[in-house]
Amino acid sequence: MLKSRIESLGVYLPERTVTTQELVNQMPTTPMFDLEQLTGISSRRWRAEHEDCHSLALDAIEKCMAQSKYGATDLDVIICTSITRFRDGLKYYVEPCLSSDLKKALGMRADALNFDITNACAGMFSGIYLLNEMIKSGAVKTGMVVSGECITPIAETAIKEINNPIDHQFASLTVGDSGAAVILDGTESTQEGIELLEMVTLSEFSDFCFGMPSKKNSGVAMYTKAMEIHSTVIQRLPKILGEYAERYNLSGADFDHVIPHQTSERAIRTALDLCAQTFGEIPNICVSLDKFGNTSSTSHFVVLADQLAQGTITAGQRILMLIMASGIVLGMASVTLGEHLGAQAWEPL
């Protein structure tokens, strides 16, 4: 049966590293808690002045294309899923869509499809979800999902504006910049592919997190009801995973690794401990947020590239990816990487 697979992956992280302590030192009032200890995030990558969503996406695309057997004119569709849509500094573009210029820059065919998706941190997986559906239906043969996430502007705003111990902008201090791109194509192989991908939006909680321009300063802010999101997710994720486990006859033991969305170390481990009750334990939890922070829409793929570079994840291994995002969007993907991905030389990020 035709399913899609990850044919190529490219991840780009900016060179500059900024530590959590450096951010805290810039705040007018020192937080009452140890932010690094609470989140598990020691550092994150920070864009250079000339970098924006477009350039971060292009850098990731370059790495992705270098690993791929496809050329630009082979791709039937490109989907861009950046949340912040910044170009030329803090210009938030709504028209044309970002994929429009990426398509031109890449040299894709004029009749190849392009569009953007906005779906918070679930953006890249939303793009993969739709491309997966289009490959399975026969609408397209191959395509790219890319996200250039220039998200540290929300941290810059948070540093200026946080003024109380339970400020809704604290989560903004966890983010890091990145770019990631994947190419998907179809396969009949039983040894690799995206075996399942389920996503659902629990809209009752759609107002728990907003990213929008600040009302106090020029710039963008993110306002997160972090405690409410955490409690909502840990109450529901075990039930949802349990339903998927039953539907697909799966358990944690069927997987070699789990890559959760990278929010905070404590939140991840709490959620997975609870999920073990309905889903069973998974041998290895993959985390890279200590070095790179929460890279939002690219998070799973930054971790995947990091773990491939370290040799922790290898070809043929089955990976559970847990999707959690504002909306609230929850979901899971089961991905087995093909031999061609394992055979490549992965540079450290």
Binding site: I83, R87, G89, L90, K91, Y92, Y93, V94, E95, P96, C97, S99, S100, K103, K104, A110, D111, A112, L113, N114, F115, D116, I117, T118, N119, A120, A122, Y129, L130, E133, M134, K136, S137, A139, M199, V200, T201, L202, S203, E204, F205, S206, D207, C209, F210, G211, M212, P213, S214, K215, N217, S218, G219, V220, R236, K239, I240, S326, G327, V329
Partner: protein
């Protein structure tokens, strides 16, 4: 067999909030469709301009909540008993598709895959473009309108979307550039947007749409009964129809004067609805949906009623 339009709704003269207009359109579309809300498995928002320039979450999930669709998982029998009976807890996946005036046809293509695969039984697509300030602005080029369309799969051999096509213009920059410059707007970033349209944007869009329609109809060789298109200026549909290779019997659907201007991402829904209201959409009628917009990009879809 293919994806069919089950119902549509258009909202105008309802203020200047994209969210409220598209939500109301969605509500009316569902209520008059005969479709049970619990059948809706996906909700796609295709509007370009967003209230308060909200970047996260998706506008689709905010609309999903207002429509009381897929609010939560069923946590317990007691919880489901207490919940609003009109609300649907059937799972829904929602997201925004953004591609200027072509976004709606991109959403149709994506929805077609979801319906063909059986991943969703019904897809609700909504649209709406108002100034981010949610106020009437004379410098905003689009008329505040919300639209909604329900799509389902139909196994009838001769109905639905049968072909589609898309192109971008490789030779020119986008004729519309719209952005919020947060450095420039200061603390007023939520209320502002800069919309720049090239002096020749109408001509560029016309040329691209004309080229694409001729390519598409040349390949498909079907006599179309109606041309449905977004109208960037009054008379756009009829000029396009008569300049193209579409047969002499093909009639353009004009919407510009009805709404007093360009209604952007809601255009094709409004065009379809106007045919529906006139009672002339008999089975077998051949419709050509055409959209052209920023990028620059053009999209076509052939629909059999």
């Amino acid at each position: 067999m293919g994806t069919v339009i089950k119902n549509t709704a258009i909202v105008s003269d309802n203020g200047f909030s994209s969210l409220e207009n598209s939500t109301l359109a969605g509500k009316r579309c569902i209520e008059t469709s005969g479709v049970c809300p619990s059948e809706i498995g996906a909700l796609i928002y295709t509007g370009v301009y967003r209230d308060d320039n909200v970047m996260e979450p998706s506008i689709a999930c905010l609309i999903q909540k207002q429509l009381a669709l897929g609010l939560d998982v069923e946590l317990s029998h007691q919880a489901s008993q207490k919940s609003d009976k009109s609300a649907s807890h059937a799972p829904v996946f929602s997201f925004d598709i953004v591609n200027g005036a072509c976004g709606l046809l991109n959403a149709f293509k994506v929805a077609d895959a979801l319906l063909k695969n059986g991943t969703a039984r019904t897809v609700l697509i909504v649209s709406g473009d108002c100034h981010p300030s949610k106020r009437e602005r004379v410098d905003f080029p689009f008329v505040a309108t919300g639209g909604a369309v329900l799509l389902q799969w139909d196994n009838h051999p001769d109905r639905g979307f049968v072909a589609n096509s898309y192109i971008t213009d490789p030779n020119n920059e986008s004729s519309i550039n719209a952005f919020g410059d947060l450095s420039e707007f200061g603390e007023n970033g939520r209320e502002n947007a800069t919309v720049l349209m090239d002096q020749d944007y109408q001509e560029h869009f016309f040329e691209l749409a004309l080229t694409h329609i001729n390519q598409f109809t040349g390949l498909n060789r079907i006599s179309m009964d109606y041309l449905l298109t977004n109208e960037v200026v009054e008379g756009f549909a009829s000029q396009l129809c008569y300049a193209s290779d579409l047969c002499a019997d093909c009639k353009p659907v004009a919407i510009f004067s009805e709404f007093g201007g360009d209604i952007h991402t809601s255009s094709l829904i409004a065009a379809y609805e106007s045919l529906q209201k006139r009672g002339i959409l008999e089975p077998g009628k051949q419709l050509l949906f055409s959209a052209v917009g920023s990028g620059n990009a053009a999209a076509c879809a052939h629909y059999v009623v």
